[in-house]
């Protein structure tokens, strides 16, 4: 096939970056993916099973690499981008190690970082040994080993705490991280699948079951798996003498304060922007949302374009999204990028790479 000489750099080799790379490659563009880790895949590498159908994350990773059969991108790992600077109508991408790349257009897909749950001091993460995050649990699930608490025992009562670092002005994050609700439902079911005798509780403010089959999964958790849902944000966690955890909340539907003990508490920590996303965004003159994510040009009609022409954004670097939404978002971004490249091809100042038939 004819390869368009225009060069696209994608910063971040997670689900958004890889999906975009395969779309742009298929469309005939020359793509370079810069991944800061030693391996592409992003958070999918951590995740064991994906909601709502408990598909192995490997399947999505396979889909992504299958996309590279025609015109595969150049993928560089251990390539940490520090800045993106406009230069002669193009963009210069500088790496930590001093390397630089030139691109006609850039797609930023740097993803998110898990909210540092230590900041919710009242939950005692990294202080009380049986308080873990949803990430910690997912890593444990991925090993396939039986679920154990710190002392090596099987937990009998497990609580999931929603909205940790989300919808919380005090923690600095006003926004909703969106995917924690369904993650809590998914992980609660996974625990019940492995420990059928365990009592599993979810403490929530609102359950935002926005996606296809999410509400169905919530019903399944209640009806089939006997997971209990209590509408109340957890106010504090304290450690009992036996290292179990005392949790205080209000059951707001009955209007009474409740105090319960658990062997294991899972904090559904929200999404925050990667610090380097902010760094890169600032270098490229991009705007940010109130939550410090990268801001799209328009919240309805051009979420993937930015205020800097030629720089596009996709995935969770611009707002909290599920894996499915991230992939959709990446594909949407590529359409906008291709349009932009075509519009800018004729007025391109730099000569194109000469093709054989030129």
């Amino acid at each position: 096939m004819a390869i368009n000489s225009q060069h696209i750099v994608i910063i971040g080799g997670g689900p958004a970056g890889l999906e975009a790379a395969s779309c742009l490659g298929t469309a005939g563009y020359r793509v370079t993916v810069l991944e800061k880790e030693k391996q592409t895949g992003g958070k999918l590498l951590i995740w064991d099973k994906l909601f709502p159908e408990f598909r192995n994350s490997d399947k999505v990773l396979n889909h992504l690499s299958n996309g590279f059969k025609t015109n595969p991108p150049q993928i560089l790992t251990n390539a940490e981008v520090v800045s993106v600077i406009p230069e002669n109508g193009q963009h210069r991408i500088n790496l930590r190690d001093g390397q630089a790349f030139q691109a006609d257009t850039v797609l930023i897909t740097t993803g998110f970082k898990l909210y540092n749950a230590e900041k919710k001091e009242e939950y005692g993460y990294q202080i009380y040994e049986n308080v873990i995050t949803s990430f910690d649990l997912e890593k444990q699930l991925k090993t396939g080993n039986p679920i154990r608490i710190e002392a090596g025992l099987t937990p009998r009562r497990i609580a999931f705490i929603h909205c940790v670092g989300s919808r919380d002005i005090k923690s600095g994050n006003i926004y909703c991280s969106r995917t924690c609700c369904i993650t809590g439902v998914k992980q609660a079911i996974e625990i019940k699948r492995r420990l059928s005798d365990a009592e599993v509780f979810n403490f929530y403010m609102d359950l935002r079951m926005f996606g296809q089959n999410f509400e169905e999964l919530y019903i399944e958790a209640q009806q089939k798996w006997g997971v209990t849902f209590i509408r109340g944000r957890v106010s504090e966690i304290a450690e009992n003498k036996d290292n179990s955890l005392q949790l205080k909340a209000e059951d707001t539907l009955s209007g009474r304060p409740i105090k319960m003990s658990f062997d294991l508490v899972v904090l559904l920590a929200g999404m925050v922007p990667e610090p380097r996303t902010v760094e890169i965004g600032k270098s490229a003159g991009l705007e940010f949302t109130s939550g410090n994510f990268l801001a799209g040009l328009d919240s309805h009609i051009s979420q993937n374009e930015t205020n800097t022409p030629g720089i596009f954004i996709a995935g969770t670097c611009r707002e909290p999204l599920s894996v499915a939404e991230t992939l959709t978002d990446a594909r949407a971004a590529t359409v906008k990028m291709i349009s932009w490249l075509r519009e800018n091809e004729t007025s391109h100042k730099k000569p194109l790479i000469k093709r054989d038939n030129d």
Partner: protein, 355 residues
């Protein structure tokens, strides 16, 4: 429990504590129930640490208890506090140190409100001028007196005669620390260590050799609740909240409790007596109750002050079991003597609580 995690929390809440030259304002509750604590604080600061602490005889209550029982309007309380700022300014001081946690919380709240609403500060300045012809500068440094002891905990350790260690076993004593709600729950940044894991008492206890117990109801209020204690009909609220704390700390077998709030230390002492007499329960294994100290008393003992000079006879729960563990020598027969060693009688024995 991971202490590294706690240390990271503490690092978030390092507050500035002035090094010297303090304008001191007393606590109504402390002066009433444990007056030896304020005397001990001043002795340590002035005699042992050679610090300049100034007290103006014209300072009064901050009206805090009236304010928190809702009979004194906010404007009145602000103006009384502004008058204390005026006395401080007139005396040439910029660092103010309230002895009371309710006062400290209110001073902090007042300054915070003025920062957000300068027009309120302007109005209070007018009120103060109209009422007293006084003017003031806001303090440069506002800290609670427990912050001062915290700041000098290592100096005190250097001068100490006693460690918080069981003399017989050589093991650190197990200490329950209780922080007054108004110390940092309203303004976490104003407390050493913040609101969730305050370090102000922990820092002292650990510096002086003890171990701190983190029990599930550590953060819960002692139950004072202002009107909930002051009005007899409401006292069930107070005692039941303290009881909840006692039950929660009991499994850890604390050697003593220490509080930084004048009200809390009194209630944690008195309610043990009340519960013992009403229900025949104590929360230790010997029927004597868990001794409760103020942080000034704890510092005084560490400095080697005599227990009866600092006022430990004013506690209802006997402190002797603790003194024995610390290896502090004392004369039981001197406990209730008057200022010149004269006999002024002794308290009666409770029915149940062993003293």
């Amino acid at each position: 429990m991971e202490t590294e995690g706690k240390k990271r929390v503490w690092e978030e809440y390092q507050k500035e504590i002035a090094d010297d030259h303090y304008f001191y304002v007393r606590s109504c509750i402390r002066q009433t129930f444990f007056p030896g604590s304020e005397t001990t604080f001043l002795k340590i600061l002035q005699n042992d640490l050679k610090k300049d602490v100034f007290e103006d005889a014209r300072h009064t209550t901050c009206t805090g208890i009236g304010y928190h029982t809702d009979i004194v309007p906010l404007e009145t309380t602000m103006t009384v506090i502004a008058r204390h700022f005026a006395l401080m300014t007139e005396a040439g001081y910029v660092n103010i140190i309230p002895s009371c946690v309710t006062s400290f919380g209110l001073y902090t709240e007042v300054l915070d409100t003025w920062r957000h609403f300068p027009e309120i500060e302007a109005k209070i300045r007018e009120y103060l001028w109209k009422a007293t012809k006084r003017e003031f500068k806001v303090p440069e440094n506002l800290v609670h007196t427990s912050d001062i002891i915290y700041k000098f905990r290592n100096r005190i350790k250097d001068l100490s005669k006693v460690s918080l260690i069981n003399k017989k076993t050589g093991l650190p004593l197990n200490v329950v620390e209780h922080i007054g709600c108004h110390y940092s729950k309203m303004f976490p940044q104003s407390g050493v260590g913040g609101a969730e894991f305050p370090a102000v008492l922990t820092g002292m206890i650990e510096a002086w050799g003890g171990t701190v117990i983190d029990y599930p109801e550590r953060r819960h209020c002692c139950g004072f609740g202002f009107r909930q204690y002051l009005v007899k009909a409401n006292r069930g609220y107070s005692v039941s909240n303290s009881k909840k704390k006692f039950e929660s700390m009991q499994p850890y077998q604390p050697d003593f409790m220490v509080a930084n709030c004048p009200g809390c230390s009194m209630f944690l002492d008195r309610w043990q007596y009340t519960i013992a007499e009403m229900e025949g329960i104590t929360y230790d294994s010997n029927g004597t109750g868990i001794p409760v100290l103020t942080y000034e008393e704890m510092a005084g003992l560490v400095m080697g002050y005599s227990p009866w000079d600092i006022g430990l006879q004013m506690h209802q729960v006997s402190v002797e079991p603790l003194l024995d563990k610390l290896g502090i020598e004392y004369k039981k027969e001197d406990k209730y003597l008057g200022s010149n060693g004269q006999n002024i009688g002794e308290p009666q024995k409770p029915m149940f609580l062993i003293v």
